[in-house]
Amino acid sequence: MTTTFLLIDLPMILEKFVLILVVVMASLGIAMYTTFAERKVAAILQDRRGPNRAGPFGILQPLADGMKLFFKEEIIPNFSSKALFVLGPGLAMLTAIMTSAVIPWGDKVHFFNRDISLQIADINIGILYIFGVLSLGVYGIMIGSWASNNKFSLLGGLRAASQIISYELAMGISLIALLMITGTLSLKEMVVQQQNGYWNVVLQPLGFLIFLICSFAECNRTPFDLPEAENELIGGYHTEYSSMKLGFYLFSEYINMFISSVVMSTLFFGGYDVPFFDEAAHADWGNWLALIGIAALMFKAVCFIFLFMWVRWTIPRFRYDQLMHLGWRILIPLALFNMLVTGGVILYFFNK
């Protein structure tokens, strides 16, 4: 008894480390190409051509953008609080990446006689962890905007804080209805349930809609991009930032977008589940099955990312009072209604 907890599973640590490395690198790479995709999608929706000079079809454009950001002069304003000014973008980036820890990227793979779960940490409160880290995300913006010692930045930060806090409420309540159906907080468990039953979007269409709108707001994406409204606040919270610190802020926005796409796919669209395909019957496919699962999850995430962009280039920005009105007086009552109805249905029909 006394010796067991001193044993450290070295291969386990190694495999987790490799997995973390892969996931973080993949998120960064995907975020990088999301910036490219954003420009390309914007161009295509507006009958333009988009970046097509760097490499074939402009494939190397993100590299060129990144290089440009690195080579720019790094300006730290004289009257800023320097430590916080540097901390801001780092925090934004950190919280953006941290969320990826509990997402089940796929089923198990089998290497070196070990079953390796493609989830960094299958904690039983996965969705709460995501919520916790997501709400920390606002600190990156708030600290950065406050440290800039600039009125425009501060206004942007204020808007970000109030917006994210207001929409988190509706998001949480819309999820409670989902959690009542699944009866678990573990993301892995939810995916397994959806593999065997229906996708949650079928059971919770209203909940999904509210969740979708709230994730637009949480990611500061148009039509909720008030914190960085260019034409009102110059650049909002990143007005004073330059060089790669600005890059970090922009980058964290795209990582957030990717992660929330993955979270939405996992919660409502079956995660790595392939529709109309019985995974259990093809268990002999081994690693290929896991690969198909990852591809399915990525496909769903890409669809959501496209939706994010599609909406951005369609809908203009909300006014601040409209934003608050939508959050507090429409989404929260709707989410409450959804929760009550779901609870009532479960109580009445499935009470065992």
């Binding site: 929706l45 051509r49 599609w310 369609t314 809908i315």
Partner: protein, 184 residues
């Protein structure tokens, strides 16, 4: 108030109906409009690889013409310089020496011929003034440069390639503007 024209449009100030208050149908409609633009033909062309033809009346950079045997047409009469409203043209005349008949068409030629492209307004009056078909406006334009003095174009930059030595370049520079001067 009485309308001054019949194009007046009354602003609709009715309160929003329930469907309009839902916003989502309108947003979906807008999204389908943007989506339909994916399949539209793009008006943009990939410029340096693909160029649009200039209009037939486009007036570009001047070219000093040669005749079919590669002799310069210009006799340095100065009519183009006189006609030029921007005073962009300068020239110096010289007499053709024996043995230079294959270079210049007539006894007098332009030893120096300069056009200041920063002054030129590409009006085409030099082309109209020229009695010898020696200058005309091509379909190209002066490229950008870093120094002002680079924009004073001299004979080496203005002269059309020699049709005897380089007939292809000559044809290309000639474009479909000027008729090649025949030995009349």
């Amino acid at each position: 108030m009485q309308a001054l024209t019949n194009r007046v449009k009354e602003v609709d100030r009715k309160p929003l109906s329930f469907m309009e208050k839902m916003y989502l149908p309108a947003i979906l409609k807008g999204m389908f409009i943007t989506f339909s633009h994916i399949f539209k033909k793009k008006p943009t062309i990939n410029y340096p690889e693909k160029k649009r033809p200039f209009s037939p009346v486009f007036r570009g950079m001047q070219i000093l013409n040669r005749d079919e045997e590669g002799r310069e047409n210009c006799t340095a009469c100065g009519l183009c310089a006189v006609a030029c409203p921007a005073e962009a043209i300068t020239m110096e005349a010289a007499e053709r020496q024996p043995g230079e008949e294959h270079l210049y068409r007539e006894e007098k030629y332009a030893a120096k011929y300069e056009i200041n492209m920063l002054r030129c307004i590409f009006c085409g009056l030099c082309e109209e003034a020229c009695p010898k078909d020696a200058i005309y406006l091509s379909e190209s334009f002066a490229p950008a440069d870093y120094q002002r003095k680079q924009f004073v174009y001299n004979k080496s930059e203005l002269l059309i390639p020699n049709p005897k030595e380089d007939p292809e370049a000559y044809k290309k520079a000639l474009g479909n503007r000027a008729k090649p001067t025949t030995n009349a």
